[in-house]
Symmetry: C2
Subunit: 141 residues, 2 copies
DNA sequence: TATTGTTATACTCTATAACTATA
DNA sequence: TATAGTTATAGAGTATAACAATA
């Protein structure tokens, strides 16, 4: 079977991304979290009192789609809302949330290290440099 | 705003992949095709008489999910089904399908060239090598 | 006026199970 | 028995429009 797609960098990128996403989701399954839940916890850990809108901006998710994510995490007792003013609130960890954050952090760190370990050492810098040219918004933090 | 995600290769890969997918979909919009439609046409062009199941295997799509893709392309008059035996059929281009295939081919080639052009020349080989280690199934053609 | 959170809705992609007919 | 195509269904991610409350 002739598969010319496998010679295309853009296609390889897509399949690689999907494969790593599947791995990540599998790792998170033991915590009963989705990738978006874990990413949200990760950002709350780095930015206490961050608003749902700000999380959405960083993750590239519309604020309307943050509602069910925040709702799930709150329902699980992992986060609480702290009013910042009359219309917005900051997201913070509960005690259980902080423990979950540590586990998420561990999974992310290990997975990322695992990813890097598969890439030939001499290619790693080039790989990251290439990704940054393909997603220019990465620099707008 | 502190965004530690942007330091993670796996996350950069995901955002890069999504950005390129959006670009690809935008390019295909003028042909009124989806990415899965275009990929299917691309594989039919390289493999006349290929079956839907085989296309699904190459694309990583369940054969059940090939049904609406084939149905769309047939409804548009781009492909026809040629019975291979009593239970399976091969997919072939109609005249309009071959013309559309040429356009798809053009868009894919140009986009892929565009992608490569953004990556520093000295990083390209490393980039592709890295992707292949992250999606090992690429070699099972 | 602009922004935040929210609701409602719809579309896409994908996974699974089950059915049929054929090999 | 195994395989190809199909149907039906559900989950997940995402986009859009509109609304109320507040800045």
């Amino acid at each position: 079977m002739n598969n010319p797609l496998n010679a295309l960098p853009g296609y390889l990128l897509r399949r690689s991304s999907n494969a790593l996403q599947d791995e990540f989701s599998t790792l998170l399954a033991e915590l009963e979290l989705r990738a978006s839940d874990a990413s949200t916890l990760f950002l709350v850990g780095a930015n206490p009192d961050i608003t749902p809108s700000a999380i959405g901006t960083l993750l590239g998710i519309q604020r309307a789609n943050m509602v069910p994510i925040i709702g799930r995490l709150e329902k699980k007792g992992l986060i609480r809302r702290v009013a910042l003013d009359g219309r917005s609130y900051g997201v913070n960890f509960t005690e259980a949330g902080r423990e979950m954050y540590e586990k998420v952090n561990q999974i992310i760190s290990q997975h990322e290290a695992d990813i890097l370990s598969r890439i030939p050492a001499e290619s790693r810098k080039h790989f990251i440099a290439a990704l940054k040219t393909l997603w220019p918004e990465h620099s707008t933090d």
